[in-house]
Symmetry: C2
Subunit: 403 residues, 2 copies
């Protein structure tokens, strides 16, 4: 299969962050050529008035919850969790599969080509992902055995899932210890061992709420990140979600251990987690920042374009400084940074990279005027995911707008 996109604005996200007017040619799963290209192709996209950019990477969601959209709005976190857990206790594997399918459809519709998930029953989520053709990093959720609702041991379930999907091309299995308030030291270290044994990534929630930090200090005398460091859990395999309530010392610990951050500004604001992830200090300490939507229950959509805007604006507002974030920085979070965090050969439009690509219709009024100087600004500050016209994953067109 080959695809030729002709004469479009290419937001390359290469080292120089070049935006060039030209053609892009995909052969099988790879970007085979960029520039002025004279070649036949199975599928041709006229790039006139179109913007082509790397697919967005959502580094934190619970995709199977998408069909629970809107069930727990505008309530304090304790009530939120009560509602969600009650609903989840009733869910069948079939419902998880259907929820995941809807969420994946939404992500492909809105330009996300890769996502990182945390949930149980990731095997049925993997089925949905393979049917839809999205790139899926699926983290089987692990909590202490005494509190789990999973059948059998969460750690064993996670290990079996990793073994089963280890050599899949689009589905990448990982292990997802849920958090310090649901996983004790032993569970965390056994999860880490599994990640090392099978050479996978890990993902975990860290310091999303004040309550989590307060209670962990009461229990251990230490803040979550300090404690995770002390027990020897932290390493460069980890994508840590939220990280709202961090001290400068914890930032330095995360940096030292090369932990990657998944920032979820929309979810944090909607749940009123308070404050904001200390982005500025994290950047100063060279922590790799990526972006996530979190679930459709706390967001309530999976639109990474919207998350980019919320990320940029939250920090401007928080620090009373408009120059503290900028559009290019935030686009990097959602593309090149995320690809780096996952060790994925994508995130930019360059020859030899995986063909994870989004085509935007720039004839919509919110994309006009179309001029090179403001394309990145429009991507971050003006577009919604519904501006997307084609989504290509691994060289295949997996979403195409009718008309």
């Amino acid at each position: 299969m080959s695809i030729l996109i002709r004469d479009a604005w290419l937001v390359t996200q290469n080292e120089k962050r070049e935006i060039i007017k030209g053609d892009l040619y995909v052969e099988d799963e790879i970007i085979a050529d960029i520039g002025k290209i004279n070649v036949e192709a199975d599928y041709i996209i006229d790039g006139k008035n179109k913007i082509v950019m790397p697919g967005l990477i959502n580094t934190h969601t619970h995709v199977a919850m998408t069909d629970m959209r809107g069930i727990a709005d505008d309530v304090e976190l304790e009530d939120f969790l009560t509602i969600v857990w009650k609903e989840e206790a009733k869910r069948s594997r079939e419902e998880i599969y259907r929820g995941a399918k809807l969420g994946i459809e939404e992500m492909l519709r809105t330009g996300t080509t890769t996502f990182v998930d945390m949930y149980s029953d990731e095997d049925v989520i993997a089925k949905a992902a393979r049917e839809k053709g999205i790139r899926a990093y699926l983290g089987w959720a692990v909590v202490d055995e005494e509190i789990t609702t999973q059948e059998g041991s969460p750690l064993k379930n996670a290990e079996n899932f990793i073994k089963e999907f280890k050599n899949n091309s689009l589905v990448v299995p990982l292990i997802a210890p849920h958090g310090v308030y649901t996983c004790g030291e032993e569970t965390l270290l056994r999860a880490k061992d599994i990640a090392e044994k099978y050479d996978t990534l890990m993902t975990i929630h860290i310091s999303e709420t004040r309550k989590e930090v307060y209670e962990h200090r009461k229990k251990t005398g230490m803040r979550p990140v300090e404690w995770l460091d002390k027990i020897g859990f932290l390493n460069n395999r980890i994508i840590a979600a939220h990280l709202v309530w961090l001290t400068l010392n914890e930032i330095k610990i995360l940096a030292k251990n090369e932990v990657k951050a998944s920032h979820n500004p929309t979810s944090n604001m909607k749940l009123a987690n308070g404050g904001a992830m200390p982005l500025v200090e994290m950047l100063q300490n060279n922590i790799l920042i990526t972006l996530g939507t979190d679930s459709a229950v706390s967001n309530n959509n999976l639109d990474m374009f919207e998350v980019m805007k919320f990320a940029a604006l939250l920090h401007k507002n928080e620090r009373w400084r408009a120059s503290i974030t900028n559009a290019q920085m935030v686009l990097d979070f959602a593309t090149v940074n995320a690809a780096k965090a996952l060790g994925l050969n994508a995130g930019s439009l360059e020859v030899g990279k995986l063909a994870d690509i989004v085509v935007i219709d720039a004839t919509e009024p919110n994309a006009r005027p179309l001029r090179k100087e403001t394309i990145v600004s429009n991507i971050v500050y003006s577009f919604s995911g519904l501006n997307v016209e084609h989504t290509i994953v691994n060289g295949k067109i997996v979403y195409e707008r009718r008309n």
Copy 2:
């Protein structure tokens, strides 16, 4: 001309905030019937999997700036103003007309049926509005004569504009004294006299930035709202934009004078105005709250769906309380409240109201699952303006998605 929408979810925004499954019939410019309707019509919309809601009302923008989208991002306010004013100094009336046309196109595309504008050359903006068929409250901007770039006297220009458009059906003229840092006491009071003479509304920027408040105190010894009250400017004709930096005393003054608020959360966050409009205290004092996008230079789109989400989430985040705002409250800001502020017989789907209506395609993934209980949540927290399929203003279909 008559339009029949068959068997849709109708978000009525009536007194009881009912959501009903049924038909809606438009005859000429009026909603003529709602319920189970047996009638012929010139145009029929199949409402299956569609949501029908009142058109959104944007109470603060500078629509002619839409073609300047993205020219002044991520810079502090002083630099922002320098860039914008330099650009505006070069603009012809033809450019203002074209910018307005683009902005109006974007608003109709994203479900806004009425907007309140502040700019010079509102006569050419009126031309664009009439061509596109949007309902437009156009406020001719007034500043002190010594600093104006308008030809002639701004007050006279505004008065002439009001006289010319006074009896127009879709274009409603008003007067827009720009702010306390650009209008002295005499200008403000003369603007008020013009509004009273011709019985029009007024719109003005108030307390957008700390700098404005600080400098006004330095000059007059009073905060802007206190001073505006003292000079006798405030009354119930005023829609005041921003109102970020208010004391409780100023809130009580605004309430006493029945001044209406246009809250612009996205613009305020992007410009890092700091803090947030004191929504909670304003609601406690019964100030009527409406929403605005502000211009495409400070937002950077004109999507009122996005503004609703930013409004809800900003205040949750600001006060660390998720229950402080809710979806229904915010939808009210953008519909019934705004209609009330403008004295407009619209903002809800009720028999006898003006047919300003939006039809949403709920087959998009971000609109699913479609269930009555979460429709308002989806409108505020999940949709983008690009979910809009039809926009109807004054009984005419002014936007229809191709396909």
